[in-house]
């Protein structure tokens, strides 16, 4: 996904997602891998995930306290993954699709222009699975097209993209990233998102057992033609 180029500045990756934990649960291994290789990673979370159902188990958060808690958890997850910078768009959870689209695209385009990332990760605008995911994916895709900077990849869930034709893609459209050596960081980030992950007993099993729940690869859909360097 990220190739060595004859440039002196570090490679940069911009990930634009909807909720705290999207970055960990979906592509935490990839972020940890590139961070370990020296790629500078900026994560944008459109919301603080403050309208979710999971409030800890047993619940120790409520609707008014959860936003601050999830921000703290996300910062800790970023530390485990090696994400350098975190930004929020301060949109209320579950309302991303109702934001003024020009405003939203403009925010992201501005970030891309400022940061000049080599790679941009976001949700696919129809395969995102949640209205907030699809909305932030659609806006980021449009911002990428306008800014004309870097390469765009869509994140995907689990190993669905082993069968890309089911989603209208071919194997050539898919990139598999081997994250085997970075699963420990991914697990630590899962545990940092405690109020969301503690309902899942496997996360809290012994490390070696918990790690068996992760796949070796994370899959991405190409959102732009590969650039010839």
């Amino acid at each position: 996904m990220i190739n060595d180029k004859m440039e002196h500045r570090p490679q940069r990756l911009l990930a634009v997602f909807a909720h705290p934990d999207d970055e960990t649960f979906i592509c935490g291994g990839t972020l940890a891998k590139y961070a370990a290789e020296g790629v500078e990673i900026t994560l944008v979370s459109a919301t603080r995930g403050e309208m979710g159902r999971r409030m800890g188990n047993p619940p120790y958060l409520n609707r008014e306290t959860i936003a601050a808690a999830r921000e703290i958890e996300l910062r800790q997850a970023c530390d485990h993954l090696g994400v350098n910078e975190l930004q929020f768009l301060d949109i209320r959870d579950k309302t991303v699709e109702f934001m003024d689209e020009e405003w939203l695209v403009g925010q992201i385009e501005h970030l891309i222009t400022e940061l000049r990332p080599d790679v941009i990760l976001t949700f696919h605008e129809t395969l995102g699975g949640h209205p907030d995911h699809c909305a932030i994916g659609k806006a980021t895709t449009e911002a990428f097209r306008r800014a004309g900077q870097g390469e765009l990849y869509f994140i995907s869930f689990g190993d669905r993209m082993l069968q890309p034709e089911r989603y209208g893609y071919t194997a050539q459209d898919i990139v598999a990233v081997d994250v085997q050596d970075h699963l420990a960081a991914k697990l630590a980030a899962f545990r940092a998102h405690r109020c969301q992950s503690e309902i899942d007993a496997w996360v809290w099993q012994r490390d070696d057992k918990a790690l068996r729940h992760f796949g070796r690869y994370e899959y991405f859909i190409r959102g732009s033609q590969p650039q010839v360097s």
Partner: protein, 140 residues
């Protein structure tokens, strides 16, 4: 933030985010009490808390978590009821012609801003419903 009388929000979080391997075993009972803000509903107590909002202009946050939420609609609350033996039902009469009724409530808290937070959780701690009353608007 995280209302908690005994420690600041940040320290609450740092207390229970260290020691990944022992996260399910809280360090001691004091900390556990401090972390668990929401308490199982005691009907009489909630009835009393509700009565403090009757006759006032009230801002309401209400949600059926997987389906809808409404934030900061303002009502003149004229009557408030709690019914059931747990989970509980609460009904509000407002503006002389309105009703809001919600069921499945299990937990309550009067937070440090004197907002009454009523919520309903399933057996795994996932929220199903919420009804919050405040005399000032909730953050948008």
């Amino acid at each position: 933030m995280i209302p908690c009388a005994c420690v600041s929000p940040i320290s609450v979080y740092s207390v229970y985010n260290i020691g990944i391997d022992v996260l399910n075993d809280f360090q001691n009972e004091d900390e556990k009490d401090c972390i668990e803000e929401m308490k199982p509903i005691e009907k009489k107590q909630v009835e009393k808390m509700l009565s403090q909002f009757v006759g006032a202009k009230v801002y309401v946050h209400s949600e059926a978590t997987s389906y809808m939420f409404a934030r900061n609609f303002r009502i003149d609350l004229t009557e408030a009821f709690i019914a059931g033996d747990g989970p509980y039902r609460v009904a509000l009469r407002y503006d002389g012609h309105g009703w809001l009724r919600i069921e499945g409530l299990t937990h309550a808290e009067l937070d440090d801003q004197e907002r009454l937070l009523l919520e309903g959780f399933d057996d795994q701690g996932r929220m199903d419903v919420a009804l919050h009353l405040g005399k000032e608007p909730f953050p948008e």
